[in-house]
Amino acid sequence: MSYSPEFLLRAYRGMKTIRLFEERVTREFEAGNIPGFVHVYDGQEAIALGVCMNLDDADIIGSTHRGHGHCIAKGCDVIGMMKEIMGKADGLCKGKGGSMHIADIDKGMLGANAIVGGGPPLCNGAALSAKTLKTGKVAVSFNGDGSSNQGTVMEALNLAVVLQLPHLFVFENNGYGEGTGADYAVGSGDIAGRAAAFGMPAEKVDGADFFAVYEATAKAVQRAREGGGPSALEADIIRFSGHFIGDPQLYRAKGEITQLRKERDCLNFFRDRVTGEGWLKAGQLNSVDDEVAALIERAVEEGLASPLPAVSELTTDVYCSY
């Protein structure tokens, strides 16, 4: 498969934006500028981009508590996101949602979800709309290894097969559900195998390899658009940070993270591959780095400057009419 420079730069910009966004969110949280429970996505960028580069605004994704990366990959406004995470009035959700509920339906982002397993049943619904209204659109639900044990996810897998819904279930296996190992919590240890047993094609890929994720997704999404029904993708990946910002991560072996950050950084893999193949020059990537850094800086500045919602906002947006 060959890739245009524009495509590769878009992919890199997306991954780099997520990386810097999450690193900065962590700092702003620690500085007391971001309230609540925040779960960052750094280390898993290649999955969000590898998947979402196959989608357009009218395709729907459903995310998890660890949703910033999916939002960015789906094209949500980074400044509006930072404001939302800070709980500001002009955030993506007027500050009412926050990190765990960030959403932008106009961009086909059906929301982060603070309930593990909350998203996949909803994505079946988006896929059902696509199928019923014959839009040719698809839905993608992002899941973790831990969420593969939630009954709602398994019901959703089966229903997607029964109704042959255009729905790709992506399982990001980062080895942990909070502080519990995937090998412990997933009975068989094999999430793709579990999905396949419901009667859908399921594949395992290296989640740190953007190209592997992109190509596996391309097949599944095309199949879905053509009426071929659901698929599953299990992507092995590393969670660079703690489960939540501030997690002491005692359950991880000493030095585990430092080593993995060195050896399994999807951004380094991408950079090496595209420069190695001569598809892009290091300089092109470096200037993306600068653009992105500036964007994040601006997002934080605007976020900090934005006002909190007025108290009158408390009781609005509950119902369309009541």
């Binding site: 339906i105 019901e155 509950v318």
Partner: protein, 350 residues
């Protein structure tokens, strides 16, 4: 056959006929699916016979409420599902966010236990969490109530559980006329609506217009009127309250019977106005007292019509127990006309 007084924008009363509660809802579904191609129906056995060698539309819902929809609109719009309630409600909610107007069936509302998250944490909260950007126009139809010897896991009301949840609307029709008009409103409403059908009402008949009509939410009906006392009754309790009112009328005692029709939103103004006049209130509900609907209405009145109350409010509700199976016990569990009558006499005597 009670004809609610406050029914509104009824199109062409001219052509109408006596229909059962079941038929009225079925007609509403037919008419709305015809009017709007984005309306779909999904659930277990809503058609029936999927993947079987016999007839299609074998059930049309286990109570026959969706009968005939599949033959007319096809399996693409009338969808039989596996026994996966979280997946059913989730699919409805996600579809509602993305262009469809699903009517999902929970065969028995007792099954919310296996799909409550998709109802109260997802569908109910999207609009708020997303800063007003989401719309979730979905209806969850479910059967409620005791009286069929169905036992502890198939006889509950549970409306208080969903009335408590902000973001949901809860509709509880007591007669065929309201059922049709409220179902049409529910389908056209842009918020998630829980539509609760009492099993014991399915065969109840009254005159129902053939043309579609919408009954607005939050407007109570007054099947009986009188200023001696106020009786608020809900769902299957309404016919009982009416029977008591008619009996007492023969003695010259005239009472308001108020049927809220929707319990969220609740027409508290109608109840308060009535109590301002009567000063006496009896609330009849088939859910138990603790954090229940009767307590809800009682507390609203006790606080906002405090000065008008001339007697303590009386609640006629079941005991704080599961629903028993044995007929002798279930009959004692369900509020009876005798208990309603006694409660009215008590508030009058006080």
């Amino acid at each position: 056959m009670n004809q609610p007084q406050k029914a509104v924008n009824v199109v062409d009363q001219a052509t109408s006929s006596v229909k059962t509660f079941r038929e009225a809802i079925n007609e509403a579904l037919h008419q709305e699916m015809e009017r709007d191609p984005t309306v779909i129906v999904l659930g277990e056995e809503v058609s029936g016979g999927a993947g079987c060698s016999g007839e299609d539309d074998a059930y049309g819902g286990v109570f026959g409420v969706t009968k005939g929809l599949m033959p007319k609109f096809g399996r693409e719009r009338v969808i039989d599902t596996p026994i996966s309630e979280s997946a059913i409600i989730g699919a409805a909610a996600g579809a509602a966010n993305t262009g469809l107007r699903p009517v999902a069936e929970l065969m028995f509302f007792d099954f919310i236990g296996v799909c409550f998250d998709q109802i109260f944490n997802q569908a109910a909260k999207f609009r708020y969490m997303f800063g007003g950007k989401a719309k979730t126009p979905m209806v969850i139809r479910a059967t409620v109530g005791a009286g069929m010897r169905a036992g502890a896991q198939h006889s509950n009301m549970l409306h208080p559980v969903v009335v408590h949840i902000a973001g949901l609307k809860v509709v509880m029709p007591s007669n065929a006329y309201d059922a049709k008009g409220l179902m049409i409103s529910a389908i056209r409403d842009d918020d998630p609506v829980i539509f609760l059908e009492h099993k014991c009402l399915y065969d109840a008949k009254c005159e129902v217009p053939d043309a579609p009509y919408a009954i607005p939410f939050g407007e109570a009906a007054f099947p009986r009127q009188g200023s001696d006392a106020t009786v608020v009754a809900i769902s299957a309790m309404v016919p009982k309250a009416i029977a008591v009112a008619d009996k007492l009328a023969k003695e010259g005692i005239h009472i308001d019977v108020i049927d809220p029709r929707t319990v969220s939103p609740l027409d508290d103004e109608a109840i308060l106005e009535s109590v301002e006049l009567s000063g006496r209130l009896v609330i009849v509900d088939e859910a138990n007292d603790r954090c229940g609907m009767a307590a809800d209405i009682s507390s609203i009145v006790a606080e906002r019509a405090f000065g008008a109350l001339r007697a303590p409010i009386r609640k006629v509700t079941p005991p704080h127990t599961p629903v028993p199976f044995a007929p002798s016990l279930e009959d004692a569990y369900i509020p009876s006309e005798a208990r309603i009558e006694q409660a009215v006499r008590d508030v009058l005597g006080a």
